[in-house]
């Protein structure tokens, strides 16, 4: 149900014209054997009019079995390609640099839960064994992992940020809307340890919740800063793309206002010191801007409409993309301040674990105390989660470089202090392409994956270790020849059946009468598919039976009821033979 909404959001997000604004676009590369690599590029135009800069952000592998019908497609791997640079605030947010090798996939969409338990186990081991064993091991092992994690998180957010804000409507590429949604959702979920366990059926809801939470934070922080600016007599400047909610905001003080004495300054939500009594502000010689205002108090560039000019001194830049309260990115009076706050917070968060030599996992009481502290502090609005802060920073870096209201001189300052977004290096992408083109690269990998997929169908019910053996036997083909056409046909049919079950289950669950609540044609196609020869997989068979029974129990239109009965009586062969015309996507 929400799929449409999400896509609408993606499309709306990319409302800027392609030629003269930053945007993102998908590009498809086909490989032998019915495999495609879909890559999302972030495109930043050259202000001098030269060639736009294209940076690969994310790649997805799609196994199409060589046709154009999405019903037998499988999305497999997602790779994060964005680079990473340690400058400014980022230096503090990411303790260790990531020196990557060949890109590892972020997630395998065919098995998103893979590795989840390994991660959980690794953390448990680290928490319960390494930490108490000695200070040295403790610190090095922990910072090693957290450094890697933080770096991956930054790249993840940059990818998400591009996908959410800049994906180009006119160049959606070869992926279907559903598939793009799946990529986005799984990338979202890759951010949380247990996210991989989320079932496909919950993706819509999870993504919509995430988007909604983010929009709510943006609005709330925008409003918090505006109100606080208003009460403290400061100038508030939201920063965002056209037709998009602002992602950052600047606070300024007007030099003329410094003459008038004011009441006490409440720094609580702003995180900056009193500008009214600060000599550094009164004697400010750094960057300023001259703004003109019309009679309504709006900023204007029209000299005729301007009734007053004011010189503004920058005080702070905040990210609005942060839970509960805005995140202070730059205090213009002190380059080190937010960074210092950042280290102070890290120390506080890690203190109970590293200094006391106990682990939060092992000590329930300590964990409770920590939770209480976190809860109270987050309630009071202190930014507690580093993950949130990374995200807040990444979002602003993307935007500050791209939008108009930020003057070029200021933009440089921001780049200096925040670090620049995705480094133009295409190293990861190049190594991915090199691997994909290599003889034992992509082609071999997909053979192996397909072999595994078949093995599960042909040899169900065996223990894992025998399955591994089976993979090996099926894989006997793989070095010498590709899977036989018969085997591929089998794979094709099984994938279609599994897609059809998904469609039917979703339809039956979403409405008490599918003729009212659901798009009927897709249901008919799915029902027809499932009325034919049953799946080899017992689980799929069971689900198909149940879905068809639930469908038959509904008050269906008479015509459809007859069709359903006819298909069931037709026998598998004729249904299979009748499939061909359906593949075009239309029925009747």
């Amino acid at each position: 149900m929400n799929g449409f909404l999400l896509i609408a959001f993606l499309l709306a997000a990319a409302a800027l014209p392609a030629s003269d604004a930053s945007h993102a676009e998908w590009e498809r590369q086909r490989f032998d054997g019915g495999v495609e690599l879909h890559t999302l590029f972030s495109v930043t135009p050259d202000p001098a009019g030269g060639e736009a800069e294209r940076t690969p952000v994310i790649s997805v592998l799609r196994d199409t079995l060589g046709d154009d019908d999405p019903n037998n497609d499988r999305l497999r791997y997602v790779w994060l390609l964005a680079g990473q640079e340690r400058r400014g605030v980022m230096k503090w947010l990411i303790p260790e640099p990531e020196l990557g090798d060949m890109p590892k996939p972020l997630v395998d969409l065919a098995a998103p839960g893979k590795g989840v338990w390994k991660t959980v186990l690794r953390r448990a081991v680290q928490a319960s064994l390494l930490d108490p064993s000695g200070v040295g091991v403790r610190i090095s092992s922990r910072s090693y992992w957290s450094g890697r994690r933080a770096s991956r998180t930054v790249r993840l957010y940059e990818a998400l940020s591009v996908m959410l804000l800049r994906e180009q409507a006119s160049a959606p590429g070869g992926l279907t809307a559903e598939q793009r949604k799946q990529v986005l959702a799984r990338t979202f979920l890759a951010d949380s340890t247990l996210g991989g366990l989320a079932p496909d059926s919950s993706l819509d809801r999870i993504v919509e919740q995430e988007l909604s939470a983010r929009r709510q934070s943006l609005g709330r922080n925008w409003e918090l800063l505006r109100q606080r600016a208003e009460e403290e007599g400061l100038i508030f400047q939201p920063i965002g793309m056209d037709d998009e909610p602002a992602i950052a905001a600047m606070l300024w003080v007007s030099r003329a206002d410094l003459e008038t004495p004011r009441g006490p300054f409440r720094s609580k939500f702003l995180g900056i010191s009193d500008p009214w009594k600060d000599p550094a502000v009164h004697e400010w010689a750094g960057y300023t801007e001259i703004w003109r205002f019309d009679s309504d108090g709006r900023r204007t560039d029209d000299d005729a409409a301007a009734v007053r000019r004011e010189e503004l001194i920058p005080l702070a830049l905040y990210s609005l993309d942060h839970p509960k309260i805005p995140f202070l990115l730059i205090d213009f009076r002190s380059s080190w301040k937010p960074a210092l706050r950042e280290t102070a917070r890290r120390t506080l968060e890690e203190a109970p674990r590293t200094v006391l030599g106990m682990t939060a996992y092992a000590n329930v009481e300590l964990r409770a105390a920590q939770f209480a502290l976190t809860f109270i502090r987050s309630r009071r609005g202190a930014p507690v989660q580093r993950r949130d802060r990374l995200r807040a920073t990444v979002a602003v870096r993307q935007t500050a470089q791209a939008v108009d209201p930020v003057a070029p001189a200021l933009r440089e300052q921001l780049a200096e202090r925040l670090g620049t977004p995705t480094s133009p290096s295409t190293r990861r992408y190049e190594s991915l392409l090199a691997w994909a083109g290599a003889p034992d690269g992509l082609a071999r990998r997909i053979e192996k994956d397909r072999g595994r997929e078949l093995a599960r169908l042909l040899h169900p019910g065996r223990a894992r270790w025998t399955q591994a053996l089976t993979v090996a036997t099926v894989g006997l083909y793989r070095y010498r020849e590709p899977l036989s056409p018969e085997r591929l046909a089998l794979l094709d049919r099984e994938r279609r059946l599994s897609t059809a079950v998904d469609v039917l289950e979703t339809a039956v669950e979403s409405s008490p009468r599918i003729d009212v609540g659901v798009e009927l044609d897709s249901v008919r196609l799915a029902a027809r598919e499932l009325s034919g020869e049953p799946s080899l997989d017992s689980d799929t068979r069971k689900r198909a039976d149940e879905a068809l029974r639930a469908l038959a129990a509904q008050p269906l239109p008479e015509e459809m009821r007859r069709e359903l009965a006819a298909w069931r009586n037709q026998g598998p062969e004729r249904v299979a033979a009748g499939r061909a015309p359906l593949e075009g996507g239309g029925l009747d």
Binding site: R226, V516, G517
Partner: protein
């Protein structure tokens, strides 16, 4: 055997019914579901499939039922007042989501459900506070037309009883607090419940449909309101509406399979719309800070929730109904702020604020007393101040005498009622009725003692001999706002002594003008401007206009014939932008008069009549949506018009039915008829002095941020709500009817009651006759209905207390 007999009897009664008789009603209550959003979505088609984004609403109501696309809230577009009209069919009795008593500062927090859950859990309450009030005022709910056992109400503001089993099943715990953090989060955000509870409520509603004995069912969802306050994106709001559509589908399908399918009516109704736009955040303006500050009068301010400025854990404490924000620069600095709050703010709903100020003369009295208690007042000045004080006391006493006499009388009646109820208590069967009676007894006793204290404090004040060394705090009533302020008092409101202190006039008396600092609250509020104007379409002024009741008899210079108005409302949009709304009769006849410089001097109110033109409050003259052709507008507006004519002319305009709504909102409470009830007498003391309406995309939320959108005002976006009906074959409901005639919330109850065969001609609203013929007939005694005798019992209930036995 017995069951079969019962069923037979039921079947016989059923067949004896008139054709066109509905016997069961299911009401889906969607808080804040905007009429315009549903209308817009219903007009859409998927270009590929041709399908509606709201397939169930379209099929059930638009194609096979009745849809009234021009349905509006009546009065402020606020949950509690609006549901009070929808759920009772009576004129507005509750005027805000919170009400404060000026004499006792008791807060009636109708929206806060957490204390109610707790009280219920410990058997200390039976009904939500709004229902307790309706019971005190003897106003029955729609559901009260049925035996309580024949009803299934979900969680909501006007909730009678509590479905504990549902709650338990949903959270599997002894309390509804399986996750306190989550519940508190929701409480903070508004009246909303976790999904599991909502699912459980839906399941129990659908299960109850199988039980033929159950005749009234409802299901409340606050999700749209909740989401739209926080998120202005179309996709988020549309997703909620699609969810409501799916709910309609599930409920309607369940009704179709239920035993009373043919005789069941399904209604979808909302209490108000929502002023939200994906292009603008709603901006908050902090009135708490304004009133605490120098410009606003340095008040100690009471709100019903912690303002966000504190941002402390205390702000989450859900049992709070009154929060004090004191001013550092209060003129009553020596006193304890909690003894002397001088402003009560109701900011809920957010597009409007209701403001009650301590009576300006009490401020003068208090300030003079503080001067007189000090030793170092110069003798001449002391004498003048003492004379001024004596005059002020006498004037205040004269002014409040009538009310005090009435209150004494009502309190005597209340005391007798308390005694009567106490005597009845042992005879009330254990269960919800006992809880209800006990809760009522507690509430009445609290009122009685608080009021006795207030009256006693006033007697002390009237009798006091001021002088040096006699502290004012011993004399001035505490936690007491006194008489409502007149227009004149609000225009020249005494906030403190002048910076120079008390001054003598040439005649040796106190120079009142120069001795006190005064504020014109109409001007102050309307002239507010902000520095940061950063959004297209959101202006620098947070306040659109200010409304206050004005006594007709004090208005000088009304044209002949217009003096016969029953009451009047004054809208202030600037010194030269004012509107007087005169109202008479029931249903209303209304006339609006453009005015300037309305001034109240000692109870005589003068004003200049001006011409109709652009720029007046409500912008009727220039509004392209106003249905009277421009050339005839001035003439149309110059005459008295029925409320129906007003609704027809204005409902598509920017402010929709604001003229009728303001009349409803600010109509004086009934009475005073001595000997009526204490509760009715008190209605006058919970009325705010000022109703402040926010500009477009402005709000007054102080406890958090509502950038997504708001409601509460009279803009069409906020007032436009939803009303749809669908019915089985035997209900007499017409099919596929689009009702273009505009209606307001007052029409909902009589329409449903008519279809259900309840004849109640004394309900003031016009039934939506396009929906189908009312099935009124005498002598029906159908299962599940409360008998006439039972309803009668409720109506006269002089000793109060017991609802049905």
């Amino acid at each position: 055997m017995i069951r079969a007999g019962l069923a037979l009897a039921l079947w016989l009664t059923a067949t004896a019914l008139l054709p066109g008789q509905a016997r069961r009603v299911v009401v889906l209550k969607a808080d804040g579901l905007p009429g315009w959003l549903v209308e817009r979505m219903l007009a859409e088609r998927d270009p590929d499939t041709g399908r509606s984004p709201l397939p169930w609403i379209e099929r059930t109501f638009v194609e096979r039922g009745v849809w009234a696309p021009n349905f509006y809230s009546r009065g402020v577009s606020l949950s509690v007042p609006s549901w009070s009209i929808l759920d009772t069919g009576r004129p507005m009795v509750i005027h805000g989501n919170v009400e404060y008593d000026r004499y006792t500062l008791r807060a009636f927090d109708y929206l806060n459900f957490i204390p109610f859950y707790f009280k219920s859990a410990f058997s200390k309450a039976a009904d939500m506070p709004a229902v307790e009030l309706l019971d005190d005022l003897q106003v029955p709910l729609l559901a009260d037309r049925f035996e309580w056992s024949a009803t299934r109400q979900s969680f909501q503001i006007f909730q009678r009883g509590i479905p504990w089993t549902t709650l338990k099943r949903a959270v599997r715990g002894p309390f509804p607090l399986a996750s306190p953090r989550r519940l508190i989060g929701e409480w903070q955000a508004g009246f909303e419940f976790s999904q599991s509870i909502q699912d459980e409520l839906e399941r129990s509603l659908i299960a109850a449909l199988a039980d033929e004995q159950i005749r009234y069912l409802d299901l409340y969802t606050g999700e749209l309101d909740h989401v739209a306050h926080l998120d202005n994106s179309e996709q988020a709001q549309r997703a909620v509406v699609e969810g409501i559509d799916a709910l309609v589908g599930r409920v309607w399908s369940a009704i179709e399979q239920s035993p009373l399918a043919d005789e069941t009516i399904l209604a979808l109704v909302s209490d108000h719309g929502m002023n939200t736009s994906p292009d603008a955040y709603s901006q908050g303006y902090n009135l708490v800070e304004l009133f605490r500050g120098a410009a606003g009068g340095r008040h100690h301010v009471v709100t019903n929730r912690h303002p966000l400025a504190d941002y402390k854990l205390k702000g989450l404490y859900p049992f709070v109904h009154k929060v004090l924000s004191s001013s550092d620069a209060s003129p009553y600095a020596g006193e304890s702020p909690k003894d002397y709050p001088t402003v009560l703010l109701d900011l809920d709903g957010n597009e409007r604020a209701a403001i009650s100020l301590r009576n300006s003369d009490l401020n003068r009295i208090h300030l003079l007393l503080l001067q007189l208690e000090s030793e170092d007042l110069e003798p001449k000045l002391r004498a003048a101040a003492a004379r001024a004080y004596a005059d002020a006391i006498r004037a205040y006493e004269d002014h409040s005498r009538q009310r005090l006499d009435r209150l004494e009388l009502e309190l005597a009646v209340l005391t007798r009622q308390i005694a009567g109820l106490e005597a009845q208590l042992p005879h009330i069967a254990d269960g919800i009725e006992t809880r209800r009676a006990k809760a009522r007894l507690r509430s009445w006793k609290l009122d009685a003692s608080d009021y006795q204290d207030a009256l006693e404090a006033l007697r002390t004040l009237f009798a006091a001999e001021p002088g040096a060394g006699k502290p004012a705090s011993k004399t001035v009533p505490k936690r007491f706002l006194g008489e409502p302020n007149s227009i004149g008092q609000l225009q020249r409101y005494a906030v403190s002594l002048s910076p120079g202190g008390l001054r003598l006039g040439a005649d040796g008396n106190l120079d009142e003008e120069r001795s006190f600092e005064r504020v014109d609250y109409f001007r102050l509020l309307r002239d507010l401007r902000v520095r940061n104007v950063v959004q297209e379409g959101v202006g620098a002024r947070p306040v659109d206009f200010v409304a206050a009741p004005v006594p007709v008899e004090a208005l000088a210079g009304l044209p002949p014939g217009d003096e016969a108005a029953d009451f009047a409302v004054w809208l202030y949009g600037g010194a030269h932008r004012q509107l007087l709304i005169l109202v008479r009769g029931e249903p209303f006849e209304i006339k609006a008069i453009p005015a300037a410089n309305l001034t109240d001097r000692g109870g005589r109110i003068s004003f200049e009549r001006t011409e109709w033109g652009p720029g007046l409050p409500l912008a009727l003259y220039e509004d392209p949506g106003f249905a009277i052709p421009a050339a005839e507008r001035a003439q149309w507006l110059a005459a008295w018009r029925s409320e129906r004519d007003w609704l027809r002319a204005s409902h598509r305009a920017r402010y929709a039915n604001a003229v009728v709504g303001l009349a409803e909102q600010l109509r004086p409470p009934e009475g005073p008829h001595p000997g009526e009830t204490f509760h009715q007498a008190r209605r006058e003391l919970v009325r705010p002095d000022l109703l402040v309406l926010a500009g477009d995309h402005w709000n007054f939320n102080a406890r958090g941020f509502n950038p997504g959108g708001n409601h509460g005002g009279f803009l069409r976006a906020s007032a436009h709500s939803v009303m749809m009906l669908a019915g089985g074959d035997s209900t007499g409901l017409r099919r596929g009817v689009r009702v273009d005639e505009p209606y307001d919330a007052l029409s909902f109850a009589p329409t449903l009651l008519g279809l259900l065969g309840f004849c109640e001609p004394d309900l003031p609203g016009v039934p939506i006759h396009e929906a189908g013929p009312a099935a009124c007939a005498d002598g029906l005694d159908e299962g599940g209905r409360a008998s006439e005798a039972q309803l009668e019992l409720d109506r006269d209930l002089p000793a109060g207390g017991q609802r049905r036995p």
